[in-house]
Each structure stands twice: as structure tokens, then as C-alpha cells.
Symmetry: C2
Subunit: 186 residues, 2 copies
DNA sequence: CAAATCTTTTTACAAATGTTAAATAATGCA
DNA sequence: TGCATTATTTAACATTTGTAAAAAGATTTG
């Protein structure tokens, strides 16, 4: 299975573990701007983007705020729900034609008991997400909007194919402000 | 051991696992404003505050920035180093007379192989930290400085005993700006 | 193709936050 | 206690970012 080629790079699990995991895994193809997970739902699926891209977003005072972008091989979960069981006011939406791998999280967590190595693999994957969220925190806490934009725009791909309103809210600024920054930077 | 009384609330591990953990655990008493972990070092210790408080901080362009506060029973680690093995430009410092529990992380990670339940316990603890970091991200991304201050000041304890300059940098603003907000709020 | 819709930029002005420096208040120590 | 140090607030002005509305550009669709 192709997914394991990717996961093996993180932590190699036994072939029995792979066999046990396979039935929990689905492939889903989404069109552009499709909802993948509705706002208000509980996170019961762990997604990995195979190609295309998706975002986590929520509404705050009527504004659509993008919290996270995910591209090829990125994991995408609403962690505050996945790890607490609580519903979340965040949703997941594709931003273009996107192929995703979906892993049923309740079944996965049950496998943790029997397969120590599955628990380890996902522990490592989520630790990595945790470190990413700390990096982002740093940049929101003390970089200016311009610095944050320049940092983000190193990923040419992202800035080219994602509507600027999403990039603006992701950076914690308005779209007008982002336009000004772009004009200034050139 | 008193630590386990606390950890049991998260996930109960076997008594063999506890026995294996005990030798990795130390108690350390620090005076006010003591460095616990130096800037530039690698994170090889997981701390839990027993009483008192501590912060994670770093310097950005000469400014002292507080990234995290930890109080009673809070875990405190420099995750971007703990999980990557890379040195970090962040340090840990106490803010008052503080008693901490210190767990040797390299030894702990070795125990993960033998004691599945130890790995699970710490997996859950770190998942919780991950969720906390997402909550903080949300507030930095789209709340105003005033909203963030009001949120933080629900924790009366914190605002009373910690120098405002640290609170200001934690909120991502200058101390002058925080003073203004406080004057306005009353 | 052309109208309709959506996205991005621009403008003008308002509000929030930053910077520097000084004033005041609080704290620690001889 | 009282001096020295540190912490906090205030003031004046600069810069950044927000808001609302309009203009310009791009994309979609009948």
C-alpha cells in the first residue's frame, strides 16, 4: 500500500500492524471547495493529503478564519476535538481537487492496545504536528505581518494557488492589510 | 511516590512501570529567577512544576520574549528540541521559589520500548500540551491584545505575581501597550 | 461573448500598537 | 530607614493595521 511507503519514513511498523491498519484506511477524492468535515462535528478521522490541498477554518464574529493549510503528505486533523472527544467549531475544506487518505481514529486508537508500534508511529506523527504548532506560535507572537507573509511566501505554491483572503486570515491580518504588504514587497 | 498520584489521573500505569520510572525522577528546588535550562542547550529533561512557577523564554532582536508559563502540576518542556534532538534558542527560568520534578527524557524514551503503558502515559500528556498550543494559537491569531489580556487575567494568580514585561511579551505586545490596556480596563 | 460574480487592489480615514523618554511607584538591600 | 534599583505608568509622536467603500482585474457561466 502506497501510504506505508510514506509512513515508513517516520517509523516502520510490522507487517501484522500494517495488515491491521489497512481496513481502517480509505481513499477519498474531493472536488474544489468541498467540505471534508463540517463545523460543529467531532473529529473522528485523521486525514493525509495525497495531492491537492485543504484547510482547517472557523468563523469568528462572522469572519472566515483559516487556521491551517495542508498539502501533499501533510496530516490534517482537528486536534482539539480528536484528543478530547469534544465537538469543535472548526471545519475542514478542500481548496482544489484533492485526494485524501482517511483513517478512522476510534478504530485506530483501539489498535493502539494491541499494536504498540502503531501507537508509536502516530505518537511520533502527532509530536511533529505539535512542534509545527509551536513554530507557528512563535511567528504569530513576535513577527510582524510582513515577516510572516515573507516567511509563508517562500512556499510559492501556496501563495499562488490559495485565495488571498485565506492567507490573510491565516496570518492574522485583514485582506486589505495583506494587499498593502504585497504592494510594498512588490 | 507523590508524582504518580498526579499522573494516575491521566493514565494509570502498572506498578512495574512505576518502579522502572522512579530512578529517572528527581526533585529539584530552585530560587527565584534561577535558570533551569540554558538557552542554546538541548532539551533532555521533562519538568513538572510542583509549586511556584517557571517560564520558557528566548531573545528576539534583543527582546526577552516569554513563550510559556507553567504553574503547579504543569509540564514544562522545550518541545521543539525534545522531539527533534536539535538545540533550541529557548531557555527555562523560574519566576519565584519553585519546586520541580525532573524526568530524564533519553532514559524515559528508552523505557517506551519495554513499557507500552509509559509511552501511552506520556503520549497522552503531550497530546494535551499540543491541544493547549492550538488554543493559544487561536487566541494569538484573531483576538485583540485586550481580549488576550482579559482572557489571561482570569488567572488572577498569574497577573499578580509575574512581572508585566513577561506578560506583555507572552501576549505578543509591548509593555507600554499592556499598561495602556490595563489603564483602560481599569 | 458578455453579463454576473468573485477576487484583489486602492483610497481615505480611524483605531491600535510601537517607540522613546520621562515620571511615578514599588521593591530590595545596606 | 533610606538609597538604589527595578517595575510600571504616562506622554507625545510614529507606524502599523483595521474599516468601509469603491475601483480594477479575473473567472465563471448562460
Amino acid at each position: 500500500m502506497e501510504l506505508f511507503k510514506h509512513l515508513d519514513k517516520t517509523y516502520k511498523i510490522s507487517s501484522e500492524a500494517k495488515k491491521a491498519l489497512e481496513p481502517l484506511i480509505g481513499h477519498i477524492q474531493y472536488h474544489k471547495n468541498n467540505m471534508v468535515q463540517e463545523i460543529g462535528s467531532r473529529c473522528k478521522t485523521i486525514y493525509i493529503v495525497k495531492n491537492g490541498c485543504a484547510r482547517i477554518f472557523y468563523y469568528k464574529e462572522g469572519n472566515d478564519i483559516t487556521e491551517h493549510f495542508a498539502f501533499e503528505n501533510d496530516m490534517i486533523v482537528r486536534a482539539e476535538s480528536l484528543f478530547t472527544g469534544q465537538p469543535t467549531s472548526k471545519g475542514i475544506q478542500t481548496l482544489e481537487e484533492t485526494e485524501m487518505i482517511a483513517i478512522n481514529s476510534s478504530k485506530l486508537f483501539k489498535l493502539y492496545d494491541e499494536y504498540h508500534d502503531i501507537e508509536r508511529l502516530f505518537r511520533i506523527l502527532f509530536e511533529r504536528e505539535y512542534v509545527n504548532s509551536i513554530k507557528r506560535l512563535e511567528s504569530l507572537q513576535f513577527n510582524s505581518a510582513k515577516e510572516r507573509y515573507l516567511e509563508l511566501s517562500k512556499n510559492k505554491n501556496l501563495v499562488q494557488k490559495i485565495p488571498l483572503k485565506h492567507i490573510a486570515s491565516y496570518l492574522g491580518i485583514t485582506q486589505v492589510s495583506l494587499s498593502r504588504i504585497r504592494a510594498e514587497v512588490q
